[in-house]
Each structure stands twice: as structure tokens, then as C-alpha cells.
């Protein structure tokens, strides 16, 4: 049995760990709130943007934009969007696994697959395991729309130049604080827009277009990519902090359990020591009385 001193030291160590996990939980909670607010603030922008994009796309007959070009998909690129930091449960691992699975399936079909890393954790994993085109790490601390624009710019030009044929974005869709679902979205060629949309004739506005609607659509499509990427970034940031909140909460609870079981052990050990001492004293006095 461990000595009293050892157990005491262990309790101290676990208590320190508990302090850290609890602090991390609180930091993650406040970051999560901020990220959630940003997601809410983004909603009107995304909603309005989609309305206009759809209404323009409906009026344009020829959807002949280079970002919509369907080619025989020989070369495939995958954006793997993970968080920069760990200690958030299975958040990054699940996403990396999903990416691995997706890439393996495509490779079995005989495609050439390369990966674009967004976020440090994915970079660390794929660094030696896959053909990495570009990477962006340490970005989630502070980011805005310009990051989404930069990520998009990295992929738009090579696609238009036909350097590759399909682009997929894999990220953790934010369902709620404790559920983040790895999701695969095809970015290029952009899935057709404006179809499957019931246009509410009352809300539909007939506009003059300046420049012409075709040119306008060409301006809007890259913005659409920015919107998709930015949304993924926001959801990743919210999901990461949500996952960290949950996992740090768990860790804190585990620490508490550990502390209470260790304290029990410690008390038993102390009791045993006291009993042993008493026995000694009683034994000693009896011996003296006899003598």
C-alpha cells in the first residue's frame, strides 16, 4: 500500500490538474460564445447573398463560368480544415479520419489526390503522409473574411487553369455544443445554383442589371466560394471550442472523482497509521503495568 505521503502528493497533483482543466473549460466557454455570436452575425449576410445569387442565376441561361466547369475528375484536391490546437476530444481526430477515408476511396478509384491543410492539427498529421499543396496554420486565434478570401484565392486560380479537376472541403459541421459532424462539401466545380429553389414570386424583384447579369454572376461566384469557406471557418472555430468545453468539463469531473477516491484512500491510510500507533502505546503501557 502506498504511503500516506505519496497519496497526499498525488492528491495535490490531481488538484492542480483540475484547476487547469477547469480554467481551460472556462476559456473555451467564452471563446465559444464569441464564435457563436459571429455565426449568428454571419447569417443575414449569407442569407441575403444566397437570395441574390439564386435570383441572378435563374435569369442567366448559360451557366458557363470556369468555376462551374465539369471535367473528367482525374486530379482531386481536398481541403482538410482542422483546428490549430488539441485537447478538444475527438474533434480533430474524427475529421482527419474522415479525410483519410475520403482520400483512400478516391485513390482506389484511381484518382490523384492532394491535400490542402487549413489548421495546424491537419498539417501535423498529413505532413508526411500525403501530397500537401499548401497549408495555413495558426489562423483560428483571430480571423476574418480576408482569411476566407485568401484560402479561396489559393484554389480558384489553379482550378480555372485546369491544374486540377475537383475540389472538396472537409470540415466539422457545427450541430450543437457537443456534436460536430465531419462533412464533405464539393466546392469545385460548384454545384449548380438556382435550381431546386422555389422562387417566391412575391419576393422576387425584377431588377435592372448593371453590368449585365452574366458578368454579375461572374463576380458573385467567387464571393459564393468565400461565403462557403468563411462559414466552414466559423463552424470549425465554434465546434472546436464547443468540443473543448465538453472535454474539459469531463476532465474536471474525472479529476473530482479521482480526488475523492484518493482522499478516501488517504484517510484510510491515516486511520491505519493512528491505529497502529495506538496499539503500540497500549502495548507499551500494558507491558509497563505488568512490570
Amino acid at each position: 500500500m502506498a504511503s500516506l505521503k505519496d497519496i497526499k502528493r498525488k492528491v495535490g497533483a490531481v488538484q492542480k490538474t483540475k484547476q487547469i482543466t477547469r480554467a481551460m473549460n472556462m476559456v473555451a466557454a467564452s471563446k465559444f460564445k464569441a464564435a457563436q455570436l459571429r455565426m449568428e452575425n454571419f447569417r443575414p449576410y449569407a442569407g441575403k447573398f444566397m437570395d441574390v445569387l439564386n435570383s441572378v442565376a435563374l435569369r442567366v441561361d448559360s451557366m458557363a463560368h470556369p468555376l462551374l466547369a465539369v471535367r473528367d475528375p482525374k486530379k482531386i484536391r481536398v481541403i482538410c480544415m482542422t483546428a490549430d490546437r488539441g485537447l478538444c476530444g475527438g474533434f480533430n481526430t474524427n475529421l482527419i479520419k474522415a479525410t483519410e477515408r475520403f482520400m483512400r476511396d478516391k485513390r482506389i478509384e484511381g484518382k490523384d489526390v492532394a491535400v490542402i491543410n487549413v489548421g495546424r492539427k491537419g498539417r501535423d498529421y498529413f505532413r508526411k503522409k500525403a501530397n500537401v499543396i499548401t497549408q495555413r496554420v495558426d489562423i483560428f486565434g483571430k480571423f476574418d473574411m480576408t482569411l476566407a478570401v485568401a484560402i479561396s484565392d489559393d484554389v480558384i486560380t489553379p482550378f480555372i487553369d485546369a491544374e486540377y479537376d475537383e475540389l472538396y472541403l472537409i470540415y466539422n459541421q457545427f450541430v450543437n455544443v457537443s456534436v460536430q459532424r465531419p462533412t464533405v462539401v464539393r466546392l469545385f466545380p460548384l454545384p449548380s445554383i438556382g435550381q431546386n429553389v422555389d422562387v417566391d414570386s412575391e419576393n422576387r424583384q425584377d431588377y435592372e442589371y448593371e453590368p449585365s447579369d452574366e458578368i454579375l454572376l461572374q463576380k458573385l461566384l467567387p464571393m459564393y466560394v468565400h461565403v462557403l469557406v468563411f462559414r466552414a471557418l466559423l463552424e470549425t472555430s465554434a465546434g472546436e471550442n464547443g468540443a473543448r468545453m465538453a472535454s474539459m468539463d469531463n476532465a474536471t469531473k474525472n479529476c473530482e472523482d479521482l480526488i475523492s477516491s484518493l482522499t478516501l484512500k488517504m484517510n484510510k491510510a491515516r486511520q491505519a497509521a493512528i491505529t497502529a500507533e495506538l496499539m503500540d502505546i497500549v502495548g507499551g503501557t500494558e507491558a509497563l503495568a505488568k512490570g
Binding site: N41, Y45, F49, D144, Q205, L216, H226, F230
Partner: protein, 134 residues
């Protein structure tokens, strides 16, 4: 007031502005244009530049990034990737961004795709400085 024009400036981060105004000037890709109440409905793309509107006789200036503007008789919706009001612009940062962009532009060839990116960065920085001085 029923005869005012509603302006909404929407960015990914927030509703930068929403409210009734008298007049707004927007940097469209086909040239700058002004909108008063009762304007014909139209939709246009918007470039990097200066947006300003008049409310209660006072002008407010914004440095904005690409997007589009949707105009109807009573309402103007400007949807852009960034919008900074003149008094919230960090002029020193804009100045540094301008110098950086200029330095990089001098290094890359004209047909490089980095060139376009830096050119846009330079325009953005110049616009921010100009708007900040309003």
C-alpha cells in the same frame, strides 16, 4: 418619416449600418452612383472604394470591399465583404499595409498572380487612408 430611404450595410461580421437616410453614394464597378428615394430597382456589383451616405444632413464615410448593391425604391442593401467607418480606421496600419503592398509589387512580375493580389491590397490601403482623412 415615410419619405426616407432605408440603407442596410451587411458584412459577414455584422450589420454595419441599418437605418433611414437621405442619400447614399456607392462605388459600383461601372462607376460611382448616388441613390435617392424612389430610385429604379437595380442590382450591381460594388468595388473597393468609398461609400458615403447623408443622414440628417451629416455625411458618414465607409471604406468598403467588393460585394454588390441591391437597390429598390425604398431600400438599398449593400452586401460587402468588409466595411470600416472612417473613424474606426487605423491609419497607421493602413499606411503600413500600403508600404508593404508597394514593396511587394515592386518585386513581382506583372503576369504573376501575386501581382493582382498585391495590387488589390494596395488599392484597399489607399482607400482606407483616403476615407480615414474625411
Amino acid at each position: 418619416m415615410s419619405d426616407e430611404l432605408i440603407l442596410e450595410i451587411v458584412t459577414p461580421e455584422k450589420m454595419a449600418f441599418t437605418g433611414g437616410i437621405e442619400e447614399v453614394t456607392i462605388p459600383g464597378t461601372e462607376g460611382e452612383f448616388g441613390v435617392l428615394r424612389g430610385h429604379e430597382a437595380f442590382l450591381t456589383s460594388v468595388d473597393i472604394g468609398e461609400l458615403n451616405f447623408t443622414k440628417d444632413g451629416k455625411k458618414t464615410y465607409y471604406a468598403i470591399n467588393t460585394g454588390y448593391a441591391e437597390v429598390t425604391a425604398h431600400k438599398v442593401t449593400v452586401l460587402i465583404e468588409t466595411a470600416e467607418r472612417s473613424d474606426s480606421i487605423d491609419k497607421d496600419r493602413a499606411q503600413r499595409a500600403k508600404e508593404n503592398a508597394e514593396a511587394r509589387l515592386a518585386q513581382v512580375a506583372k503576369d504573376d498572380f501575386e501581382f493582382e493580389r498585391n495590387r488589390l491590397a494596395l488599392i484597399r490601403a489607399i482607400t482606407r487612408i483616403r476615407v480615414a482623412e474625411k
